[in-house]
Every structure is written in C-alpha cells, then in structure tokens.
Amino acid sequence: MAIQASLSTDCDELIIAIDGRFDFSSHQDFRSSYESLKVRPARYRVDLEGTTYLDSSALGMLLLLRDHAGGSSARIEIVNCNPEVRKILNISNFEQLFEIT
C-alpha cells in the first residue's frame, strides 16, 4: 500500500508515510489513515521520504488533516521532503500552516 500509518508506542504521535505519487488517488487511503483511529494523537508526522510527486489535491488533503487535528492548534510535522516536493510546499507557502523540516 502506498500509504502507511503507524502510531507511536505511547499513542501520542501518528506517523503517516506516503510512498510514490501523493495525489488524488491517495485520497481515500490518506483520510482513513487518521480517521479510522480510535485514539486522538497529540501530534502528527507526515513522512514524505518515499514521495516522488505531490499535487494540489495532496495539499488539499494536508489541509483536511490539519482541520481534523484541530485547525490552527494542530501539531503537524511534514518531514523528509525531496527537493521537488519541498518546492511545491514552498510555492504554496504551506510552512505557514505546517512545520516542514
């Protein structure tokens, strides 16, 4: 599966890793990765190490996650972006909404 979600042992952090293209086809999997959880993690980490491409609907999905995680109080980290992915996030100025490292 292109999207893998795992909870940290203390159930505090949900790590969502996306492999390959992060676009509209990942929509269902991405949403269910956090909506199906029974606990509510305090932090989220979106790992884009294996992500080769990210389009605007993926940005929309990140916004949905942010809203789910509490909107402006959400704690979401986006990590391991390759330069192309990083560029798309930069153009959209998503660092104003997410912690991108």
């Binding site: 930069n90 100025n93 998503f94 909404l97």
Partner: protein, 568 residues
C-alpha cells in the same frame, strides 16, 4: 439472459441424420431447435427467428457455412450470436477458415454429445456476459453524453461571467485551454474606473466539477469589485473570504493577481501559491521573478489573510508573465517534465520581447511531441500607455462608478440616541459604499471618531479635557462622562457629510457641529501634530489624516476635508 431459459438454436446441416442427432441433443438440453439444410436457408432463418446460437455445417450446397457465417455475423450487428462450426474437415487451414469466417468455435464430426452440450453452455455464458458489457457500455456512453452536455452548459455560464472583462485588450496575450474551467484554471481581467488594469490567474485544486465550481464566485467577485473601483487588497480579501466560506475544506485556489497602473507605470503583484511570475525588461532583457509569498486563496480566515503586495516600476514595453504549473509540469513522451529551467532559457535567449509568448507555447508544444497541450495557462501583460488599453465600450466618465458618487447627508443625534448609540459604524458603512473610498476606511474611522468624541464629550457634555492630565483624572473624566450622558436631557450633535468626485478619486467633507458653547479654537492652533495626546482634542491626529481642518463660529462647528485618489 438466464441460462435456465430455453434457447433457440439454429442447426444448419445438409445431412438429414446429422440434423436429427443435433436436434435431439439440443432438445434434451431443454432448448428449441430450428433446422435448415443449407447456408442460404440458415441466413433466412436467422433473420426470421433470431436464434441465440448457431450450429453450422461447413460444407453445404447452395451456400456453404463460411459464407453463411459471414452474412449472419454482418447482420447480427452488436449482438453476439455464437456460431459453432460442425465439420468433418480436420486440416489446420479449414479450421482456421471457420474462425476467420466469423465462427467462434468448431466441433469435429462425429459429435461428442457431452462436448457439444458443454460448448453450448459455455457460449451462453459468454453471450450473457456480452449483454451485460453492452448494457454497461450504453449506460456509460449515455452518461458521458450527459456529462459533456452539462459541461457545455457550465462552460457557457462561465464564459458569460468570465469574458465580460478586458482580456481582448491590446496589451494582453493569453492562452487558456478551451475546457480550462474543468482543469481548474481561470483568467479574469478588468479595468478599474481609475484606468488601471487588474488581472488574476487562478488554479483551483483538483479537476472536473469541483475545480470549476469555485471559478464562479471568484469571477463574480472580481468583476463586481474591479468595476466599482475597489482596491486590489479589498478584492483579494473578498475573494479569499468568499472561497473560504463556500468551498469545501481542501479545495482552494492558487492565484497571482497583478495591477498595472498605466499612468505611473507601476505594477502591484500578489502571488499566493502559483509558480514565480516574472517581469521581463525590454531594455536589457533582464528577468525579475516574483515568488509566491502567500498561502493560496480560500485557506485562511480573513483575520489571518495577508494582503501585502510587491510593487515594481516598469518601463513602456516591459512585460509580466504569469503561468500555472501546467507549463512546468508538461510532460514529454518519456514522462519528463518541461520544468522551470527550460522556460527561463526561452527568456534568456530572446532578443525581442514580442516573440517570447509564442516561443513559450511552441516550445512546450514541441516538447510534448507536437501535441497541443490542453492543461496550460499563460498570460503576458505589457506596460503601455493608458490610452491604448481603455476599451471603447467603457462608460462615460460621469457613470464610471456604480455605488455612491456625489451625495450629501445630514444626521442629527438627539440625547436618547447619544446615550446608547454609536453612530460610527453606520457612517462608515455609508462611506464604504463609495467605490474606492473603502480602502481608506481605517483613516476615515479615526477621523470620524475623533470629531464625534470631541463634539459629544467637550461640546454636548462639556467635559474638561484637562482632567485627563493625570491617571486619576482620567478615571474621573470617564466617570463624569458616564454620569452626564445618563442625565443628558438636551443637546445634539449634527454630522454632515458631502462627497464629490475629484480627479481619479474624490473629496469628502465632514462637518460636525454640537449644541455646546464652543471653545477658543485659536489657542489650539500653535499645537504641533502629535503634541499632548491626552487633551489636544485629537487635533494633531485630525490634521495629519486630513487635508484641511477648519473651526467655525464659536468653535462648536468643525469642517474637515479629506481628499483621496484611486491610484494611491
């Protein structure tokens, strides 16, 4: 079709005994045989009786099985009528010929009853499947036709809204895919009453209907507000807020908005989420990129939205280019993207600005293997003289604004109103109905607030502002204010506003008169702006914010003149 139902099976065989054997097999399986003795009869029986399956002898008199099979297949059209050849031939060539004539299978004589039964069943399964596929195909093509029709209607509606602007102005070149609305791309352009041109390129998240939906409120907002003379920041804010309110979360619009002022030869640029747009200077061919520094439209609440724009001086002939990611992400046959570098290279190689626009389009088309790329939006805006862009359809100057233009009003506030009502929001809501004036609403609010407070507190209530010199006095001042206001039985404040058009903007005159005894305003004159914030009747501030301040009579009437220019 349910395989339990009896089938009509056509048997074409010139040998009587074979026919009888086949009939009995077919009957025993519960089906209905229709028997003929040659190919011609087989074709006729097929047309009359429309059998579900055909058992066809290959060699028959009058017309052989091959010819009959071809005719039957040709007449069956879309329908699948399996033909099983019955043959004593066993050479490869003959068997191949059976299939080439349109046969679906063959069975060799002498007949093996069990195999024949199994084949009949298998073909009926195939025929059922074929029907389901056909039904689904018909349904899909019906839906597709409906969808295309709906898109056609939606596109018409959108064109009517979006193409009311000035995209045909001589200094604008653009390319937008014919079905761009369903790629989520939108271009709108219009001329402000002051003569400057506003252009917005937007790229909505996703494709199809969801992407198209947002274009409508965007275009509506844009054209409505540009026409009324609203400032760029107001328009951006309004569009952002409208999209935020109406679009589902996760759908937003990456956009670049540009305002070209043809008088001052300046441009104002706001980029939220689109690739860099660039300024090409005709003089030396240099390029200046304008990076996206904002979040796209429709994400942030109005309070968090940032409307700061970049300003840039341009010379005549300088050009600004906007594009959506369609160009950069255009792919060649091996799937590689066109990329920003190739794009910038075109600018570097250009020795004439006029050719750049078409060079970009050609380069992208060539890169994609000569195919027209439909997901591509590009705009070129050239700085030019004002006179060359004003479209002949523009309305005469007296009607350049809709909304309030030249008007006057007078408002008297009596004690019962003074006690409870704050007139400032009401007045401000009237003032922002003047197109162009709304961008000064902050300054106007301060002006009105200072003037009204003076009239109420010092005029009507006769509070002594020197009280406010100490912090204890300050508290006392407000205690007295509350008390006197509660006990107020007589007195009034008159507010008179008058607005007239002036140049590219207008002049607002505010007269505030109170029923109080007035004061010696001549003593206030020497005060320099900003002096004594507590008790200068805010006069320093009023002087700073307005163009003229004049006290009249005994000092209970003050007139303030505020001039504004739409190009500021």
């Amino acid at each position: 079709m349910d395989s339990q139902q009896p089938l009509r099976i056509l048997i074409a065989d010139d040998t009587d005994s074979d026919r009888l054997i086949l009939e009995s097999i077919v009957r025993r399986e519960g089906h209905v045989p229709v028997s003929v003795a040659d190919g011609r009869q087989a074709v006729e029986a097929f047309l009359e009786q429309r059998p579900d399956l055909v058992l066809m002898d290959a060699l028959m008199p009058v017309m052989d099985g091959f010819e009959a099979a071809e005719l039957i297949k040709a007449r069956a059209g879309d329908e699948l009528v399996p033909i099983i050849f019955l043959t004593s031939l066993s050479d490869t060539e003959s068997l191949v010929r059976c299939l080439e004539a349109g046969g679906d299978d063959f069975i060799s004589k002498p007949y093996n009853r069990v195999i024949l039964q199994a084949k009949i069943k298998a073909f009926m399964r195939m025929r059922d499947m074929h029907r389901v596929v056909q039904q689904q195909r018909d349904q899909i093509s019906l839906h597709n036709r409906q969808l295309l029709q709906e898109q056609e209607v939606a596109k018409k509606v959108f064109d009517n809204i979006a193409h009311t602007g000035c995209l045909d102005a001589p200094n604008v070149k653009y390319r937008l895919s014919p079905l761009a609305i369903f790629n989520g791309d939108v271009i709108v352009a219009a001329i402000r009453p002051s003569g400057s041109m506003m252009v917005l390129l937007g790229d909505f998240t996703g494709h199809g209907l969801p992407a198209a939906v947002g274009a409508m409120p965007l275009a509506n907002c844009f054209y409505g507000m540009v026409k009324k003379g609203f400032a760029m920041v107001d328009i951006l804010r309004e569009i952002n807020q409208k999209l935020k309110q109406t679009l589902p979360l996760g759908v937003f619009c990456c956009a670049t908005m540009v305002e070209l002022n043809f008088n001052s030869h300046r441009a104002r640029i706001w980029n939220g989420g689109l690739p860099d747009c660039v300024l090409y200077r005709q003089r030396d061919g240099s390029l200046q990129p304008f990076r996206s520094s904002h979040l796209p439209l429709g994400i942030l609440d109005d309070s968090a939205f940032k409307d700061d724009c970049l300003h840039v001086d341009m010379a005549l002939g300088d050009k600004i280019y906007l594009w959506s990611d369609g160009i950069i992400e255009a792919r060649n046959k091996s799937g590689e993207m066109f990329g920003e570098e190739r794009l910038l290279e075109i600018f570097r190689e250009a020795n004439d600005g006029e050719a750049i626009f078409h060079r970009i389009l050609d380069a992208v088309d060539t890169y994609c293997g000569g195919e027209r790329n439909d997901d591509l939006s590009l705009i070129e805006l050239t700085m030019t003289e004002q006179a060359s862009v004003v479209s002949p359809r523009e309305e005469p100057r007296e009607h350049r604004y809709s909304g309030l233009q030249e008007w006057a009003l007078s408002l008297r506030l009596e004690p019962s109103t003074l006690r409870l009502f704050d007139p400032l929001p009401l007045l401000l809501s009237i003032l922002v109905e003047v197109p162009g004036l709304s961008s000064y609403s902050g300054r106007l609010y301060t002006l009105l607030a200072e003037l009204y407070t003076n009239a109420l507190e010092h005029g009507v209530l006769q509070l002594d502002s020197s009280l406010k010199g100490t912090s204890a006095g300050f508290a006392e001042y407000y205690r007295q204010r509350q008390q006197r206001l509660a006990e107020l039985a007589a007195g009034h404040v008159d507010i008179r506003l008058r607005h007239k058009l002036l140049g590219n903007g207008g002049e607002l005159t505010i007269i505030v008169e109170d029923s109080g005894p007035g004061f010696d305003y001549l003593q206030l004159r020497p005060l320099c702006p900003g002096a004594d914030q507590f008790s200068g009747r805010g006069l320093g501030l009023i002087r700073q914010l307005s163009h003229a301040v004049e006290y009249r009579g005994n000092g209970s009437e003050v007139e303030v003149v505020f001039q504004w220019d739409a190009n500021d």
